[in-house]
């Protein structure tokens, strides 16, 4: 009951207090119209694109996931969980969870959704051979069993009050039991798949049997245009209606051309992690010195052109209700940095700095840092390495390297995956038992104000102790043609948390002329 009420209470927030950046062209209220074909271009695409929800790892994958599948839980614009395929979600101890499924839900092949499908869909993440992106989180589910055709019981290995948010991760979408071949997606989502060619295109058509609110669009075509300029050109020439990942440098031009921009304050950040278990990071002075050397304002200004929020070396973004705004903001202080670096003994040395196009803007941030360092006599050698293989070959291996972290649906997940002592993705190898115990408490507490206090403390610990430097949180920028309506900013990710297709509608009367 507890969790369910949590969900209910939060859902009140839906639709309120949204960010309104770039919403000018949307201001005219008009009744949504059904029908039409929307052509969308994402920024990444490759032959490794997949329709297996467990393996989805890139933006276009997530979009397809939201088109064809549903999870038990969905997350809204502010990352609040709502019921989707689940009708009720109950736990008394945050350890054992009872899930009651929505009735009369059909897969695209006409079969009905049952508890077996849910059990299959969640359990498969625990098989390493599936290659699930959420292998680690799935392992926290000690047992998943069907109690009845509409009831599933999940037992966790430790209490976790944020478990509903975990179920909202799109990788945990529900597929038909027994599915091994994902060439044709068989989900419960609002669209059916008409065509899918990895790396080239996906065409989705409206699912007339959809259980929820029917989408307005008749069909959606999704392609990937990795080349920035080409993506913008495609929008401006009218070849596509909506694009993701707009370069801040083109916002001005797009606006002049009458195109709409959606600026979403997603919690994505590109961080510089200094490994605390290796030579440089062993010196706290060095770590602190680098943190003072990062010119966050300049990165915001020169790299992101203002489309970002300054970070404070902790992973909770300012728009989160748990953001610790009392933590003093660290700012650029070359004198202090010089003093600290000198004390660390590394001032004369050339520090290697590994960056890659794989980690968004990391090359530019590295250059900004390198220049600032050169001004105080600290030499840095920027090693830009290829994007391919970066995450396994360089990330978390170099003494100073960049990472790129996507937002998690709950602070506990962010802390758990990135900063807990036992996490395999603890980028700076920061081990702090106090932090770990705070995290345990936070996950099991029922009291929201205590939870907030715990999160505040944890933010302070991370900011001062971890080797992770977070200069900025990026804003996601999407651009759309004037006839595209219904787009809203979302904290869940670009293109309304990858879920635009359920809300967008086309006003053919508008903006045909540019």
């Amino acid at each position: 009951m507890q969790a369910a009420s949590v969900l209910h209470r939060r859902s009140v927030l839906k639709g309120a207090g949204l960010l309104v950046a770039g919403m000018t062209s949307q201001s005219v209220k008009a009744a949504p119209v059904s029908g039409g074909h929307l052509k969308v271009a994402g920024a990444v695409g490759s032959a490794s694109e997949t329709l297996d929800p467990a393996r989805q790892s890139m933006a276009t994958d997530y979009i397809r996931g939201h088109l064809f599948y549903d999870g038990l839980i969905s997350l809204d614009d502010r990352l609040n969980p709502h019921f989707a395929l689940a009708e009720a979600l109950d736990s008394n101890d945050f350890l054992t969870w009872q899930i009651r499924l929505r009735r009369n839900v059909q897969f695209h092949d006409g079969t009905a959704l049952t508890a077996d499908d849910v059990v299959f869909s969640l359990r498969r993440h625990q098989d390493p051979g599936v290659g699930s992106q959420q292998y680690a989180l799935a392992r926290t589910m000690q047992s998943v069993r069907a109690v009845s055709p509409v009831l599933v019981e999940i037992v966790l290995d430790a209490p976790n009050s944020d478990f509903p948010a975990i179920l909202g991760i799109s990788n945990f979408a529900i597929v038909k039991a027994g599915t091994t071949d994902f060439k044709v997606p068989n989900g419960t989502g609002p669209f059916r798949c008409q065509e899918f060619t990895p790396g080239i295109r996906t065409v989705a058509v409206r699912n007339s049997e959809f259980w929820g609110e029917r989408p307005y669009l008749e069909s959606v075509e999704l392609i990937a245009i990795p080349d920035e300029m080409a993506r913008h050109n495609a929008l401006m020439s009218g070849d596509v209606d909506l694009i993701a990942t707009v370069n801040p440098r083109l916002v001005q031009m797009l606006k002049q051309g009458g195109f709409g921009i959606v600026e979403s304050p997603v919690g994505t950040y590109t961080d510089l992690s200094i490994r605390l278990d290796q030579r440089y990071g062993r010196s706290p002075d060095f770590v602190e010195g680098i943190k003072f050397l990062l010119n966050r304002e300049q990165i915001r200004h020169s790299v992101f052109l203002g489309f970002s929020r300054v970070g404070n070396d902790q992973p909770i973004p300012p728009e989160s209700p748990y953001f610790n705004h009392q933590l003093p903001q660290r700012s650029y202080d070359p004198d202090k940095a010089q003093f600290l670096l000198k004390r660390s003994g590394f001032l004369g040395e050339t520090i290697p700095l590994v960056c890659s196009p794989a980690a968004l803007a990391s090359v530019d941030i590295a250059v900004v840092l390198q220049y600032a360092a050169s001004q105080i006599g600290q030499k840095m050698a920027v090693h830009r390495v290829p994007a391919d293989g970066y995450w396994t070959q360089y990330w978390m291996k170099a003494p100073l390297g960049f990472g790129n972290i996507n937002p998690r649906p709950a602070p506990s997940l962010t802390f758990e995956l990135g900063f807990a002592s036992t996490s395999p993705w603890n980028e700076s190898r920061w081990r702090n038992s106090h932090f770990d115990s705070l995290l345990r408490d936070a996950k099991s507490t029922r009291d929201n104000s205590r939870k907030r206090q715990l999160y505040w403390d944890m933010q302070e610990l991370v900011s001062s102790g971890s080797g992770v430097c977070i200069p900025n949180f990026t804003n996601s920028l999407d651009a759309y043609a004037p006839h595209v309506c219904g787009l809203r900013p979302s904290q869940a990710g670009q293109l309304m948390g990858y879920d635009f297709a359920r809300s967008v509608w086309l006003n053919e009367n508008r903006g045909k002329k540019v």
Binding site: M229, R249, H301
Partner: protein, 268 residues
């Protein structure tokens, strides 16, 4: 053939002069700019030319002129070095194919064919993926890519020269193979090979430009001309000199050397 060799000295001066000019610009150019090419200030990005920034600023608000001189340095030196590598290795292999045993020619011929059949961007991508983007890796990669071409040219030349009577006479005199290669064959290949060097230099500039498309280039904050165009591509929408000027410089560099080569070799 003989006439070509004889006229080499005077005719290739112009090409050499042009190459020397670019080399000087590459070596001394960056000293002329008051701006640190890595310096990032608070200037707006893609700004128009002004007194402080003669060519405006780039996508990070850096001084375009400083970046440009830095780009010329890397493009010219990298391409020069890789051309030297490909031409010397190619020349060596070409002469070896002519003077050594027949299987050497068969082997090198197949190798050259094989390398030519791999698209150069693919090859660069593979090698850079293995060795990472270092200046050395770039030089070696581009060197290897253009070696088969240089090999073909030099083999054809060496074949023609080795058949000439003065080589026959030297062999009849009992001269050693190294002497024949170094004193009789090589000096007479220099003229045509300089033409070849010039052409290969241009190909290298173009390849380096296109490599930047795959994110391969010199390490930041250093830059080569192609990467500079690439990173400032968005400036096209604003007509930014940061994107246009390096394109023009690449054009002037390649077309200039090509025309000098054409006029020097009598366009044959």
């Amino acid at each position: 053939m003989i006439a070509m060799i004889g006229k080499f000295r005077s005719r290739h001066d112009r090409v050499l002069l042009l190459i020397v000019f670019w080399l000087l610009l590459a070596l001394l150019g960056p000293l002329c700019s008051s701006h640190d090419p890595g310096a990032i200030g608070s200037q707006p990005v893609f700004s128009a030319p002004s007194a402080a920034h003669l060519l405006g600023t780039d996508y990070l608000g850096r001084d375009t002129l400083g970046r440009l001189l830095n780009g010329i340095r890397h493009t010219v030196l990298l391409c020069f070095a890789s051309t030297l590598v490909s031409c010397s290795v190619g020349t060596f292999l070409g002469i070896a194919a002519v003077t050594a045993r027949p299987w050497v020619e068969a082997l090198t011929g197949r190798l050259a064919d094989g390398f030519l059949s791999i698209p150069s961007l693919l090859f660069a991508l593979l090698v850079i993926a293995v060795f990472g983007t270092s200046t050395t890796a770039l030089i070696v990669t581009m060197g290897v890519i253009y070696t088969p071409g240089a090999y073909r040219t030099s083999r054809a030349l060496a074949q023609r020269i080795a058949r000439l009577d003065f080589v026959t006479v030297a062999r009849a005199r009992g001269e050693s193979t190294p002497y024949i290669i170094l004193q009789e064959i090589l000096p007479n290949m220099t003229g045509p090979m300089i033409t070849d060097v010039g052409l290969r230099f241009i190909y290298a500039v173009l390849l380096l430009s296109n490599l930047s498309f795959l994110g391969i280039g010199v390490q930041p904050p250093e830059v080569d001309l192609g990467s500079m165009v690439r990173e400032n591509m968005l400036g096209m929408a604003y007509g930014s000199p940061a994107m246009i000027v390096p394109v023009v410089v690449i054009g002037v560099l390649t077309v200039g050397i090509n025309l000098a080569l054409d006029s020097s070799s009598g366009r044959r």
